[in-house]
Structure formats: C-alpha cells, structure tokens
Amino acid sequence: MAGCIYIPVQNSEEEVKVPLDSLPQDANDILDILKAEQAPLDLWLIIAREYFKQNKVEQFRQVLQEGSSPEIDEYYADVKYERIAILNALGAYYTYLGKMETNKSKKDEHFILATQCYNRASRIDVHEPSTWIGKGQLCVAKGELQNAASAFQIVLGDDPNNVPALLGQACVDFNTAENEEQYKKAMDLYKSSLELYKRALLANPNCPAAVRLGVGLCRYRLGQFEKARQAFERVLQANPENVEALVALGIMDLQTNEDHGVRGGMEDMRRAFEIHPYCSMALNHLANHYFFTGQHFLVEQLTEAALAATNHGLMKSHSYYNLARSYHSKGDFEKAARYYMASVKEIKKPQDFILPYYGLGQVQLKLGDFRSSLSSFEKVLEVQPENCESLKAVGHIYAQLGQHDKAIETFRKATRIDPKDAEAFVELGELQISSDAGAALDAFKTARNLLSKRGEEVPIQLLNNIGVLYFEKGDFQLAEQTFKEALGEGIWLSVLDGRIGSSKVDCSAYSVQYRDFSLFQQLEAEGTSLDLPWDNVTTLYNLARLLEQLQETGKASILYHLILFKYPDYVDAYLRLAAMAKSRNDIQLGIQLIGDALKVDDKYPNALSMLGTLELLNDDWVKAKDTFRAAKDATDGKDSYSLLSLANWNYFAALRSEKRGPKLEATHLEKAKELYTKVLMLHPGNLYAANGAGIVLAEKGHFDVAKDIFTQVQEAASGSVFVQMPDVWVNLAHVYFAQGHFALAVKMYQNCLRKFYHDTDTQILLYLARTYYEAEQWQDCKKTLLRAIHLAPWNYTLRFDAGVAMQKFSASTLQKTKRTADEVRSTVTELKNAVRVFSQLSAASSYHSHGFDEKKIETHVEYCKHLLDAAKVHCEAAEREEQQNRQRLEVARQVSLAEEARRKAEEQRKIQLERRKQEDELKQLMQQERNFERIKEQWKNSSNIASNKRKERSHGEQDEEGGHGERRRRKGTKRRKKDKKTKAQYEEEEADMDDEPEEVDEDASMNDHEDAAEKAQDHLLAAGLEDSDAEDDMGEPSSTINRKRRAWSESDDDDVPLDKLPESSPSGYKENSAESDEEMRGNKVRRNAVDEEEDDE
C-alpha cells in the first residue's frame, strides 16, 4: 500500500505530495498542512491510518484527535461520513487500548474515551452502521456481550449481510458459548456463531483469513475436528504465517496423542514460535512438550520467554505451572512450591486451570504441610469432584492427620469412582486393618485381583497383608496359601512339605537342639540354596507364626531358625522361639533364647518384657522385677506393655503367699494401682490396664467401683472382634461372688466358659464349683468338679476339692435338724466316695508330687472316716427312727382298728338295744292290744266310751312314732360327734408320734454329733487346722472380708499353696497382651507396604 497521497492545495490546482512511507516524524507538520489547506477529511483518516500501520501510535492519535476537534466539526459540519469515520477510528483505538490495558482504572478511562467517541459519532448520524459496529466491539471488549449483541443486531437489521456486524455477532455468540455452562446451550451458540461466520464468508468471500480461524474454532468447539482442521489449514493457505492457526493446528495435533501427530503438532508449534517468538501459547505448549521429553533447561527458557511475552493471567499461570512442574520433577520442591503458588495466584477461577493446585498439593504433601496440601487438593476436588488421584491424596492426608474415618470415606469414594485402581484399594485396606478387618481383607483381595488381571506382579507386601488378615480371621488354610504365593519358590517349600526337617531330623530331636544351625550348614554344604531375600523375611516370619498356630511347631521352628541363620538380627524370631519354649514349659531354654535376642539389642523392650515373664514363671521375683524395670526404662515408660508387666508384678507380689504381710501387700497394691493408672493416662483405651485397675480396686474391697470398671471393659471388649478378654468376665464374676451374688456369679462364669472356652477351662469350672460351694449347692459343686476332673484328669487338686465338697456336703447334711434316712444314706455313700478319693490321692502321691501334704490328706481321710462312723450311727438312728415310725404307724393303725371295732361293737350293741326296745314296745303294744281286746270285750257294752278310746289310741300311736323319730335323730348326731372326736384323737396321736420321740431322738443325735465333731476337731487340731465346727479348711473363717479376699485372690480352694494354682486373670492378661503385642508387631510389619505412595499424575 506504499504510495503517496496528494493533499490539494486550497484555492489552486496544486497538490502537496506526501509519500506515505515517509510521513514526518512530527505529526504537527502534516497536521499544519492539512489544517492550512483545509484538506478533505478522508485524507486525514488515511494519514492517521498510515501512522497506525507504521506503529506510530502517538501521531495516529494526534491526527485523529485533531481531526475530531470541535473546530473541525464546525468547519466540516456538512461532511458527515468522514467525521464519523474519524471518531469511529478513534473509538476503536481506545477500545483496543482498553482491551490491552491491565490496570483496571486506566482500562476504564480508555473505555470511557471510546464511548465518548462513539457517542459523538452517533450524534452526527444515528444510523451509521460502522458506529454501531464500533459500539458493539467496545461492548465485547468490556465483556458486555448482551449489549454488544443488540448493537450488532441493529446493524444486521438494516443490512443482513454487513460483514463486520456478522463477524461481531459471531464473536459474541462464540464468547457467550465459552461462558455458557450448559453444554446444550453452548453447542447451540457455537452453531449460530458458525452460521454467522459462514454468512460473512458468503457475503465477502475475500474476507481475511481470520474469519476462517473463527470458523475453525467453532468447529473445534463443536467437536468437528476434521472440519476445524480444514478451516485452520485454509487460514494457513491464505496466510502461512498466521500464528493462531498454527497454534490451533498444533494443539489439535498434540491432542491426537499419537506419535506422528504429536511430532506434527510440535512442528506447528515450532513454526509458530519461529514466526512469532512471543506467542505465549506456543511457548507454553513447547515447554510442556519439552517437560515430557525431560529437557528441563528448555522448559525453563521457554516458560520464562512466555512469561515475558504475556500479561494474560491464564497464560502466565500456564507458564508458571510449567516451570513449577519442571522443578517438581527435578526434586526441587521448595522452588516448585513457589512457582505453583505463583501459578495459582494468576488464576482467577480454579475451574479455568486446575492443574497447578494439584501440583501444589503434591509438593505440600511432600514437604509435610498437610493442612495446606489438603486445601489445595480440596480445591481440585471442588472443580473435579471425581478426580481419583486427588481423592487418594486427600485420603492419604487424612490418614496422616489421623482422621481415619474421613480417610476411609475418601478412599471408598475413590474406589467407587475408579473400581480398577489397585493402589486405592491397597490404601483403603491398610486404613481398615485396625477398624474392620473383613473390609480390609476385601479391599486387599480386590487390589490383588486387579493387579493380576493387569498382568502385574502382586507385591509381596500386599500378599503378606492378605495372609495376615486370613490368619487373624482364623482362615489358616487360605492364609498358608497366600503366604506361600507371596514367598514363591524357595527352601521354605521343602520345609513345608516336610522334605527338610522331618526326614533328616526327628521332630523331637530337633526340638532339643533349639539353638542349633547345623541343619542349614549341612544343607548349604550339600549345595542347597538358602536364599532368603530381605523382602520375604516378614512373610516367612508370618508363615512360621501360622505354622505355630497350626501346631506344626517343628516346621515353624525350622523357619524361625532359617530366618535367624540368614539374618541373625531378626529379634522377633528369637522371641517366637522363646515363646514356643515357654509354651513347652521349657523356661530355661526360653531364657537362653531371649538372652540371644538381647545380645542383638539389649534394650529391646519386647524381649525384656518376655524375659521378665519367663523369670516370673521361674519364680525369680527379684530378677523379673529388674527386667520389667529395664523394659520400662528402655521405652522411657511409654510402652504400656512393660508398664503393665510391672504393674502385674506388683500385683502378684502383693498376693504372694509365702511372704504375705499386710504392709508389703498394701505397698505393692498401691504401686500396681499407680502403674495401671499411668498406663491408662497414656492410653485411655487400654483395656488391660483398666482391668488391672479394677482388680486392684476389688482387692481393696471397692467392689462397686471395680464392678463398674469391669462392666465397662467387658462392653468395650465385646465391641471389638480383635480383643478377646475372657478375664474381665471372670473378674466380674469374682466380684459378684465376693459380694455374695452367687447366682449372678454362676451365670457369669458359665457365660464366660461357653463364650470363650468351649466349656473346656477347668480353672473357671473350679471358680464355678467354689461359687456353688459357697452357695451351699453341694451337688452342683460336686458335679462341676467332676466335670473339671473329666476335662483335666491330671489335675489332682480337683480331686481333692471334690473330696472336700463331698465331705462338706455330708457334714452339712448330718447337721441338719431334719433329715430322712435316705438323705443319711446318700450321705454315707458320699462319705465313702470322699474317703476313696482321699485315699486314692494319698496313694497316688507315691508316684506324683501333686503338691498335697500327705498328712493333710490323712487328716481328711481320718475326718471322713470319722464322719462316716458318725454317719453310721446317724444312719442307724435314722433307720431306727424310721423303723419306729413304721412301728408307731402300725400301732396307730391297730389302735384305730381297735377303735373302729369298738365303735362297731358299740353300734351293734345299740342296735341290739334298740331292737330289744322295739321288741319291748311291740310286746307292750301287743299287751295293750291284748288289753284292748280284753277291753273291747268290755266296750261292747257301751259305744260312748268306745269313740273316746279310739281317739286316745290314735294319740298314743302318734306319740310313739314321734318319740321314736326324735331318738333316732339324736342318735345320728351323737354318732357324728363321736366321729369327730376320733379323728381329732388320731391327729393328736399322729402329732405325738411325730413330736415326742423326735425330741428324744434329736437330743441323742445332737449328742452323737457333738461327740463326732469334737473328735473330728481333735483330728483337725492334730493336723494343725484350726477350724471351728465341721467347716473344715474349705470354708474359711467366717469373717467376710477375709473370705472375699480369698475369693478374690482366685487362688481358690483349700490351703493348696497359692502359687500352685495359676492365677487366672492377670496371667491370662499376660498371654493376651503378649499376643496383642504380636499383633501390633504384625501391624508394624504391615506398614512396610505403605511406603511407595508419592507419584505423579
């Protein structure tokens, strides 16, 4: 367009030639000419445009401002179009300025100026379309799309083919579509925009390539990628240097994600870069590319260039993001974090560009800033609620922050969204291990399936965890399979199927040489590979634990030895071997093994605790205490197990029988309580400590408090699948027992037996028996003891107790004031049994040292025999009594029979009397009759007298009859009375029979008994047993406190030395906690798996 313009000189034919490519630097020069010559306004416009083209913006603005000055308006009042054009050009210029300006207030200033220009243009001619178009574009620049659209519509209403208006409207539609959130509406808008572009092209087929760019973008948005590509290519045909088209094509190519596509895309980008090195979009994409190719240096350069080239927030954000990423991948987290921050700061709305938040979150997580990291990831999730990676990260953070529930919830969501994400399942499983083992197992299994479906190798840690969970669930076979799968090939397989170990070394022989590695040396010498990768050790250890559980102690021991052979520092293996020795009652070996373990680490608290336990079993009280102390010190008193051990030690010490002193007992108990409390402060949820505290309280007689504690512990324990605490049931039962609620105690013991021991624990049966004993339910007591004997035939103490129970039963029966001969007879049988039991015991002591004093048994035998003698007397007495009863009954019967006979005779007599009377009467009657006959003879003489006589006779008859009836009745009543009397008499007699002889007998028997008791007393005294009456040693002195304590001490029955009987609860606790300790260790081991969790997208 280079050329000249000719400014006509006013009032002449001359023209001033102005070469356009050499316009004066100072616009005033030309303005002077223009003003002076009063040049047509279009020349002004041309010159201004030329300045603009030459990038001389200042001059451009000057020309236009002069051209729109009020003088010009006045002068050229009739030249409308040019004035408008100048104003519009100025308006467009301000619009552009405003658009480019980043400073808000300046921006507004520019827009105001632009608006003023357009308004002036409108005042000149309201209908000028270009003004409206300008206004529309201003509105677009200001973002008021609605107003812009109406402006363009006005133009299009007049001229539907107005190209700039069409383009403007298309642009408005496109931008509206970009902002539209509803997909469908957006698509409609893109379509209408596309339609408008097409119309513009139709109206002006030669319009600039940029129009086709618009078409391409619309098509791209509409998903018509091929057509979009065509459009971009047409743009490039028209203008090979069009950077936007190149970039667009490049992006499309990059998005194909295919090798040659990417390469082509990069080619486009590079060309765009070469054409216009400041296109930040291209720079960013190039940087992005080089990031993936790992050329971090280029990335940094490119992004820095991009940063310099643009002011656009989003672009800058992209650049910062690229930079941050580069540092992130280089491991420079500090810098990465800073750039991510910068990137984030450039973003107005997170939904525009979310990636930097994600990166930021990752870096913050890496730097340990969990809270900030969490908020970054939460931002990501706000925009993309289903972003699995972020969900996993958030879950991980929750887990780190200890918010397990939230963590689990988050991972659950992640696995729901992407059910194929094995890692998420692994994490989920690990989180659930402690809370819900079943769910954890499911998660792990899913992860394993996913991994094996993908054909990836399942990590040994995962298999190990699955195995452990099966193990804990009691699914031993599955556990074994899983462990085997985890371990793969190796020497252990031959151990498992018995090729090694059982063939070469007899199980029994092997168990003797517990510390012998010769087997492995031999195998190595034979050339067998004993490879044991470090990764496998944990699993191998778990497998050995499983074998132990399955009672395959020989194999387990070989595996432990294998571990120790390869890794002599693996202390836990020593501990397990020691535990095995302990369970075989081989305490010396156990102590030796622990000694080995302590050689590795002399402060290992678990080893110390175990050593203490073993020493305790060995009756090495002082040593045990020192060891427990050492364990406690090794952990700075933070390890609840060693604290509990020490507490238990104190508790045991308090109850030691041989050195029992009230003062010592009190201090020990106090100390135990203190320690239990300390553990509770450290871990308020420690059930064992609570249990211990309860025991101490109960020991001190605070039964109600103790009961509360036990009840709570019981509730807590029954809520968890992992904690099995039968001891607390026992303790609760003990408390009921001590408080005299025997029925409740019985219930509790029975429930405990059923729930935890399959009714096989003889110790609890013994408690049960004792409760019955105390409740004086002798038969139940005896039956319970017999059951216990049946379960534990080797426990002679039970037999002794059974004997005592029978003896007691007999004694108490004999003391009863009323008893039948049957009762006495059964007493005798029972006594005979007791004698047999005792004499068997004393006989058995010839080959068993079951811990009874021979003499004492003798005493019992003597006493029973004595009772038996007494009982025989009783029995005879009872029988005699019974006989007498019988006789008396017989006599009574005879008496009553005699009575009856007498009565009958009486009656008989009466009847006879009656009859005689009647006969008499009859006789009289007959006499009278005869007299009457006689008199009749006389009557015949006079009739008067006769009627009178008849009257008299009838009267006489009546009289006769009445008298007779009455007598009869009277007789009847008399008979009844008589009946009554006899009955009463009988009753009395019977009562007499019951009473009188009884009294006599009673006295006799009392005497008998007292005699017996006295004699027995002598026997007992002889044996040094000082019991009042026949209570004997099983019944304690009646002082309740004492009794309670005894009950409490669980030592139970009899004077059998306390330590002979295992103390249930605390020792039970020990076992349990040892186990739980192992579980804890298992968990620790499991945490191995949680190490690789940092990754990129």
């Binding site: 007899d506 009714d759 017999l786 049946h790 049988t829 049994n833 080959y847 040292s849």
Partner: protein, 321 residues
C-alpha cells in the same frame, strides 16, 4: 460319603453323657448302644429306635467315664471316676467282677479284638493295665517310659495315660498321653516300642484303621486329628478343622472315613482320601464326648450306623453311607 441324621434322644441321661460304645449283636438280639454318664448310670439302647433296652444300671460313683464291650457282645465293662471297673453281663445286668488296681486310676478301656484281654489306660500311673477276661486277674502292666530328653515339668507327672486302642490284629496297643505323645506296645512281648510325637495336648481318643493295622488316628486337645504309621513311627498326615478340643474319634468300618466329636459341639466326617472334613453335624448343643460306629455283623444289618453322645445329655444316631 455322608452322614444323615436319623434320630436324637434328648435327655437320654440325667446328666452329661461321657462315654458311648456299641455292644455287638448276639444271636438273640441286635447290637446295642451303651452309654455312660455323669449321672452315674450306664444305659443300653436299641439300635434303631434308640429306645431303652433295659433299666439304667447303677452302681457307679462319681460319673461313668468309659464303657467298653466285649467283642462277643455278652460282656461289657464300665468305669467311673472313682477308678472302679464294673464288668457285667449285658443281658442280665449281673455284675461279673469289679476291677481296681490302686493307685492307678482308670480312663479309657478297650477289649482286644479276640476278647481275651481288657486294656485300661491307667492315668497318672503312666501305664496300661491288661486284665485277663476269663479270670479277671491283672496280667500285665505296660509302663509308658518318658521320652528321652523330655524335661520333667513342675507337676512331676511326666506321663498321664488317657486313651488306649488295639490294632485290629491284636498285636499292637497304642496309648495316648496328656503330653501329646502316643506310646506303641508290642503286646505279645509286652514291650514298649516307641513314641509317636506331634500333638501338643492331651490325646483323649485314638483308633486304629479297621483295614490297615498300621494306621492310627488320634484326636487331641490341640484341635487336630493326626494319622500315624505306627510301625514306621511317622506321621502320615494331620487334619484340622475343629475349633476346640477333639474329644473322640472313630473309624468307619470300611476304613474310608473317620468321625470326630469335639468340644466345639460338632461332629465331623473326614474323607481320608481327601484328608479333609467333608461334613459337619451341628445337632449337639454342647461338647461331643463320644462317637462310635456300629460294628458290622448281626443278622440282616446292612446299614452302617454312627452314634454320638454329648454333654447336652442327648444321643444322636446317624446313617453313614
């Protein structure tokens, strides 16, 4: 291979039932089931309807812990916790003899296959007592030695013999101890042969395979069932499925299966070819102390029957096929 429940008699005894054995059929009558209980009685039951075959026989004190029937089916023995053995005529219930060998207690007992000897596990005496069944005299005392190297534990009771079993050829006698070892004797020479090891708890019940005189099945408190080769003194296999003590074991007459009773209240059927539990019966509500297959023989008896007795006082009868 399966068990089908036929009948259950609730409250067959007044107390826990601890022992069960089948009395073989004689010419006059079919086989009878004999049970012993904590209620101190021994009762006999008709084989199919489980109706009492007679009044309960008393005479024991402290609970009947073991019952055994002579292979001829005429004589039976029952033992109680007071360590007396009562030998009686099955049909008349007349006492034939009362055996005791103080200070030895009595636990499990079994007649040898020929019926000439009664073997009795002697508990704490660490021995098995053999009684002649014609004179009812004690003829031998097989002492169980301590295994070499075993440490005496604190109670001092090294061996406590709980259970005995005769091999089907009558040559071997195995006895299970509280410490989990099983001693094997050569009866003819009255000689101890060796120990079988592996169990880690009391072996309460053991039985030889009826088809292979070398194979021994053992039930133990360690919840496992093991299979031993008594001559090779090696363990052939172990099976575990019970969750508590295994209290009793018996082998099916065809030798293809064994059945166990456990304190986990179940009766399990084990397929020996698969070495696994193939069926679990849960009809008892307490420990199952005894399981017993009815011996083959008798007129017109084809079906194989199994009886189980439990702490819940009930007897259950199954059909094995």
């Amino acid at each position: 291979m399966k068990l089908a429940g036929l009948k259950t008699v609730e409250s067959a005894h007044d107390e826990s039932i601890w022992a069960a054995a089948w009395v073989p059929a004689t010419d006059e009558r079919p086989a009878l089931l004999m049970t012993g209980s904590l209620d101190e009685t021994v009762r006999l039951w008709r084989p199919d309807e489980l109706a009492p075959a007679g009044p309960p026989s008393r005479g024991h004190a402290l609970g009947v812990i073991s019952v055994a029937a002579h292979p001829a089916g005429t004589v039976a023995a029952s033992a109680s916790l007071d360590s007396f053995i009562r030998v009686f005529d099955v049909d008349s219930n007349a006492s034939i003899a009362t055996l005791e060998a103080p200070p030895s207690e009595v636990w499990n007992m079994q007649f040898d296959p020929k019926g000439t000897v009664l073997a009795v596990a002697g508990g704490g005496s660490a021995s098995v007592k053999l009684w002649d069944t014609s004179t009812w005299q004690l003829i031998a005392n097989l002492a169980v030695p301590r295994p070499e190297g075993a440490r005496p534990d604190r109670t001092g009771s090294g061996k406590f013999v709980l259970s005995v079993a005769w091999s089907p050829d009558g040559k071997r006698l195995a006895c299970g101890s509280m410490d989990g070892t099983i001693a094997v004797f050569d009866v003819a020479r009255a000689k101890f042969l060796h120990h079988l090891e592996g169990h880690s708890g009391p072996v309460r019940s053991l039985v030889f395979s009826p088809v292979d005189p070398r194979v021994l099945f053992t039930a133990c408190d360690d919840t496992h069932v093991r299979i031993y080769d008594t001559d090779g003194k090696s363990m052939v296999g172990a099976m575990s499925d019970h969750v508590s003590w295994v209290l009793s074991v018996d082998a099916s007459p065809d030798g293809a299966a064994i059945v166990t009773g456990s304190s986990d209240k179940t009766v399990r059927l084990w397929d020996l070819s698969m070495r696994a539990a193939v069926q679990t019966m849960t009809n008892h509500s307490a420990q199952v102390w005894g399981v017993a297959f009815r011996p083959p023989g008798g007129t017109g008896v084809r079906a194989v029957r199994l009886a189980s007795v439990s702490d819940d006082k009930s007897i259950s009868l199954y059909d094995y096929s």
